[in-house]
Symmetry: C2
Subunit: 364 residues, 2 copies
């Protein structure tokens, strides 16, 4: 497939040209698609993120096993080209519905299930070297931002320091084409796992006192939140600190922000933030901040198994990280950020985070 | 419990006074709590919402079965009073953590699980006739709004018509104390179940052309979204239209917006919008709008059972509603809003909704 710097629309049309050219030469049309399996994914120690290797596979039309998938690829590419031409965005699910029809003179559907169209969109992302956002495919808006940041969205100047405690709802697509970062005078970005703590910090105007941009994705941050953090990091040179629960899922959320994920390895180069820091909760915090054992939650079998998996990931091999995870396993407990409320409703804002930041008490 | 118009803080302190007064008279302290079970809930045909009856039960301290719960009630009331005094809001989970401790000289915890503190907060809501929001207890921010609406949040003037395609993230608590509706020139409110369609309408500036406030709660709308819709309905006299998937869950989402829910019957009087209209998807729409059968999804056993339950609810007894639900059952299919993309990515904005609104094609 085309990998040049041409527009996404041209790259999509290039696929059709390829088929036409093959037909004119009476050849079997074929496209090369990078392999998206684990075998073609590795952690790049130098770049410090998860990336895809260079293995590709051929998808041809005159092949019983591949003909349907080839046809589906063309249908999806056509729908994506329609989005480009009309300057629209849409969801994975709507692309499935858009491209679904019964093939004339048969009872066969082009797609029976979204499970068939989603992987094709991923194939095209990787094959055309275009982020999903550049293909105009969005997820739900899932995050919120507040702080000294001014963006331009659809001609409107949005000052995220003037949105009360509510904040700006982060769109799924925050690429330059859709969202311009006009101004950002913050000193750092704080990405908070859960909405509860984000609300605490917004209510207490933590972002004002510490001059930071406060982001949350209400759990595993959605793509828009990660891309916005990455853009603020890259374009505005802001450090990014990640605040999550002290459990294996919190560690994992941090690691996805930092190194990217195995499933979407192709995107790490534009989503990952290898310099992101883990600011807490650390398994050392309960003792350091005097959290009683009874606000900890016993690790269950799944937690333990997951923590042991993390211990083996190449990006958790640093001494400090091995210590962090093993300390959690040894204590047999996990702690939610919410547990800080045991000390005081504002403990997070007034004690915990100020001390963390002052002491530069984070993991890399 | 006190039910007068005094401040929430005074009502909370009133609980402690009651205990002190009983102790001084050497009596067993007791509080009356309204019964929150199904037996004490009914659909009020005249008010057209689900409300609580007047049954109450006594909770006393000198009673082995009730002593712990009595103590817990006082602890939670104390934490809630702390929130009032400090003018803070927090989450159910943080209240659990705040009030959890080991009772001196024992291994007994005040609370072992959040399942113990949540119902007590509900008891207090009902007993003190205070909305959860008035007790300063918030849920996650879960919704987004865009349109000709200006609110004041924490001293900031937020113009929801000037927030691009992203919109304002609706706080969990939108009571007058926290959010002032400064201006709203819209003609109606459109409450959309899913973020995908909300994004479609925001991108197409549907709210501008049809002069409406666009709300979504990304699924079952959270309390803040419902309260905001209700306030716009009540204070600005705006009709509220609800747009959901055509399945039993969509019907149910609509019915909760309209009549309130059985679980939170106490709140209907301030959350329900009995005049809300169901604008779609209707089971009549696939035929009317030419949606092919293959974009419908077969009803599964759970769907069918749920639809049959709905047929029996008093608020679905109108002829039109019986017809609506029975038509879905007869077709054996449910349809997502996303399926409209089968016609065209902008079909919702350009054809479906304009026709619905022009024809006043909705159910009451």
């Amino acid at each position: 497939m085309a990998r040049n710097g041409s527009s996404v629309e041209k790259r999509l049309i290039g696929l059709a040209d390829l088929v036409i050219a093959a037909a004119q030469r009476r050849r079997d049309p074929a496209i090369r698609i990078p392999v998206r399996s684990l075998s073609n994914v590795r952690f790049n120690e130098k770049k410090r993120f998860i990336e895809m290797g260079s293995n590709t596979q051929q998808r041809t039309f005159f092949n019983v096993a591949m003909a349907k998938k080839f046809m589906q690829t063309m249908l999806v590419a056509d729908a994506l080209a329609e989005l480009q031409r009309a300057e629209l965005t849409t969801s994975l699910r709507e692309i499935y519905y858009r491209t679904k029809h019964t093939i004339g003179g048969s009872h066969e559907n082009t797609f029976d299930d979204q499970d068939e169209s989603d992987p094709i969109i991923e194939d095209l992302e990787v094959g055309l070297a275009a982020l999903r956002e550049e293909l105009h495919v969005r997820a739900e808006n899932g995050g919120t931002v507040i702080g000294p940041l001014v963006v331009e969205d659809d001609g409107d100047r949005v000052d995220c320091a003037r949105l009360g405690k509510g904040g700006y709802s982060i769109p799924s697509i925050v690429e330059e084409e859709y969202l311009r970062i006009k101004k950002c005078s913050a000193d750092f970005v704080l990405l908070v796992e859960k909405g509860t703590q984000w609300n605490r910090l917004a209510e207490d105007k933590f972002w004002k006192k510490y001059n930071c941009v406060l982001l949350t994705g209400n759990g595993q941050p959605p793509r828009g939140v990660r891309r916005l953090a990455r853009r603020l990091h890259q374009e505005k040179r802001l450090p990014v600190y990640v605040l999550v629960d002290n459990d294996p899922w919190g560690y994992y959320i941090y690691s996805v922000v930092k190194q990217g994920s195995i499933n979407l390895a192709f995107e790490s180069q534009r989503m990952a933030i290898p310099d992101a820091k883990f600011v807490g909760l650390s398994s050392a915090d309960p003792e350091r901040y005097g959290l009683p054992r009874n606000v900890g939650i016993k690790l269950n079998d799944k937690d333990v198994a997951r923590a042991k998996e993390l211990l083996n990931y190449p990006w958790f091999q640093k001494k400090e990280w091995q210590g962090e995870i093993k300390r959690m396993l040894a204590s047999g407990l996990k702690f939610e950020l919410d547990a800080l409320a045991n000390k005081d409703f504002q403990y997070l804002t007034k004690k915990y985070l100020p001390k963390k930041l002052r002491d530069k008490d984070w993991l890399d």
